[in-house]
Symmetry: D2
Subunit: 287 residues, 4 copies
Amino acid sequence: MMFERNNIGIIGGDQRQLALAESIAGDGYKVFACGFENADLTENVQKANLHRTVSVCSTLLLPLPVTIDGETVKAEYAEHPILLNQEFAEKIQDHRVFGGVTERALSMCPRLADLKLQNYYSREDFALRNAVVTAEGALQYAMQEFPGTICGSKCLVAGFGRIGSQLVPRLRALGADVTATTRKPQTAARIEALGCHFVPTDRLGDGGNYDILFNTVPAMLFTSDVLAAYPHGTLLIDLSSAPGGVDMAAAKKLGIAAMHAFSLPAKVAPRAAGEIIKRTVYEMMKE
Amino acid sequence: MMFERNNIGIIGGDQRQLALAESIAGDGYKVFACGFENADLTENVQKANLHRTVSVCSTLLLPLPVTIDGETVKAEYAEHPILLNQEFAEKIQDHRVFGGVTERALSMCPRLADLKLQNYYSREDFALRNAVVTAEGALQYAMQEFPGTICGSKCLVAGFGRIGSQLVPRLRALGADVTATTRKPQTAARIEALGCHFVPTDRLGDGGNYDILFNTVPAMLFTSDVLAAYPHGTLLIDLSSAPGGVDMAAAKKLGIAAMHAFSLPAKVAPRAAGEIIKRTVYEMMKE
Amino acid sequence: MMFERNNIGIIGGDQRQLALAESIAGDGYKVFACGFENADLTENVQKANLHRTVSVCSTLLLPLPVTIDGETVKAEYAEHPILLNQEFAEKIQDHRVFGGVTERALSMCPRLADLKLQNYYSREDFALRNAVVTAEGALQYAMQEFPGTICGSKCLVAGFGRIGSQLVPRLRALGADVTATTRKPQTAARIEALGCHFVPTDRLGDGGNYDILFNTVPAMLFTSDVLAAYPHGTLLIDLSSAPGGVDMAAAKKLGIAAMHAFSLPAKVAPRAAGEIIKRTVYEMMKE
Amino acid sequence: MMFERNNIGIIGGDQRQLALAESIAGDGYKVFACGFENADLTENVQKANLHRTVSVCSTLLLPLPVTIDGETVKAEYAEHPILLNQEFAEKIQDHRVFGGVTERALSMCPRLADLKLQNYYSREDFALRNAVVTAEGALQYAMQEFPGTICGSKCLVAGFGRIGSQLVPRLRALGADVTATTRKPQTAARIEALGCHFVPTDRLGDGGNYDILFNTVPAMLFTSDVLAAYPHGTLLIDLSSAPGGVDMAAAKKLGIAAMHAFSLPAKVAPRAAGEIIKRTVYEMMKE
């Protein structure tokens, strides 16, 4: 069997790649999954080893991130590790290869740099769709942890970037009174255009009588001094990427109920996350 | 110490009454809690036995429901049972007494009928505020269980009563495409006024390509036949009161991911539930 | 030609009935329009005199209201008046007849009472759909008259009935901070469920720093005393039916920019109004 | 009288500068208005000639645009023209001067280039706040011109820039089914995050069964060919800047109800427009 345009190989991954494989198969592609020996897959997806996968598939999808340890492809359901070495690079050359967060893989296996390894994680449309998943995950966490209702609550969202700008209108739509912080006048204009209030980021230390605080800024904003300006018992959900923007020890001492919510998309909505990878890769295939 | 207008006694209850006690204390009332020997309370609330509570408080709040077993006041944190007998009735007479779901208590202890025992559970404002908590709880469950995002999903809500009419606009506000069912033309008008679609309840069996189904109708709507009209893998969240409106066995056989979500307010938002009891009782005290 | 189930006659009316005639024709009915000599109609609708209309149509639609003067059918586009007399009643007997606001017609021409004259205006679904049109018309008026933007404005809506309950969420969705008044605790609960504030109707005289006031209550709420509690320059739009609920003379003296907005549906959205009549009549035909 | 930090001079303008003058005075500044001989001003604002204005005010606000004819400052309420010449430039030097659309003024009077003439019109926050006013104005036009209701209508918005991204969520919030066009995958992601649909801009010619089309793109998108793909009677509101993006002659021939809505902020909401200038200038004064 020669490799065909309509065959797509999924090499490694976690729950998101499982969902991705099934979803692509549902679109009429023939899908081969390598590194999924221990996974439950429907009959629409064929499990295959690396050799067979690269033989029959012109397009290959690597996971997000491509590697964690720098030595093997991330593959949670694999029986045997898929080594990220020169042999691997040779096998997948001449294919169209997509992966998410490819930097570490490239630095560990320079041969990969010769390939047309395309990084879907660095694309703006991918990041935006992920922000929606994160914003919904933040609502879910808030509903779980806040003993009251979002409706009628007073919320503060630090940062109005990709995630903040998705979270703020959702909180308001559910009936909250929402304030967001920003450093820029034009962002203040966007916040007010949603019927929300804004405070300059450097006034975070003024505190306020909020029920829930959300942090989306990947910087240490919620220092001990800042936290002290908020009431005992305030809930604080940190959505920024690790190590986060909250002094957790200080929060604990001050009675602020702070929690990290890292990597929400993979955790709370693997199917949505798989769908987002698919849509982004389809878009890249057209370009 | 004589009893005073500004002393309020909480007799029995669960997490909601704990929150209620603290919240009332926060408003400046002196609060005595009876049946909370095993609970953690702040210094704002005084633990007291029944005798002391009725001696110093003119207003007494019984739990929701007042009794489960018909013999004792519901009191999850009590060391000793609070018997619902003639002696109890005599002790609380001459007080203003509020309780939720009082019917069973009244039938078991007819003496209570002579008292001015007022039922906050039967009030429309109480029910409506509870519906908001339930609607948010339903969103939380949907976000937890649905592998995609609410945004962009296709949802069907069976019933547009108190809960349905709170849930439908929230789903739409989060970006879903929402259809609701009703039997009445005037309710269809209210559904369309939200930018949503409606189908007559008796057409539920026509099925459709929905991602999430919500049932709010306390009747067996989702029979085996109806369930068969929806795709394998559809998520179904039953918000109606026990025993629910879904043939769970049939759902399992058909691959519909059905789940009950009974008594959401007490489970997902005890503080909100306590707040609602407080607001309703305050309202009743004014009337 | 005998009369047929699929022939519908429109007898009299204004712009709404014009739209109604065309819309019904678009659904595949054969439509005859009587009293539209001076109107522009497409070829889908046949102009006809009363005799021909009643001869060929089993179903007849009278206007809204059926009569203004009590002597003729309301017919803005008629060359000749259509008399509302015994002869008219005889002609339309044995037909299925629908009309809006039929009371005056019935009192003037008692013979009509023998007919099955059905009043679509008195139906709840009709009223609800009209409320949506009125709410949008209110937004349009507010945007025209208020020199600022709805987004970021502070609005007060007196009354949370059919119109108020449609207007309040729309104002909030456009970014306003909205307060509504009500006399009932359960309505207060519905207002807060939208993320809005409420004040008891009898506290309207407390005033407040609002940008726009809307009145939906058909009673003299905005007396001189109440108006005096609001700032000079406040915009007040009275949506209640004539004679309205605002002391217009006092408003003028106090510098409140008050305006009536009676009969919004007919004025601002005749096609929508026609569509609503059609949907209601179709519903009644099924019943 | 020497010039003081708290004196602000408004030199020329239209209704927006009138509103601006009053609003600044309301904040506690002493405001002098030059070129407003024929305007009604409250006692809070002092009319003054150019000499007096520049003598007592350290900060000067020029209109938007600064000049239309290139020879005089735009001043709709002026009795005498304010010449834009070397003398003018000398008078206002040593002041802090703000204006909107300063390019033409600078090219006509090069001496102005030596001054610190700051252009508020070129700022992103100004543009964003204006977009909100434009979006609301577009809703108002749509409500006026569309015979149905926004609720339940099918809308297409061409372009998702500043104005489109404000208009799309407002239409959806009012109950419309909304599609927006874009050329970029990341913008498609933002559109879908609102619960709306997108189509690639180059598929505009595929048409569709829309009730209302909005154009926000300043390019000839709605050519005769594209217009022919939409139903007779469709409403089209062109919000792009003159000369607009619609072949109006073709629209007329094809029965598309097309209309320009240029310069909406100045027309529909002068007070809001004045407020936006004020906020932007205050922001610039702080920087």
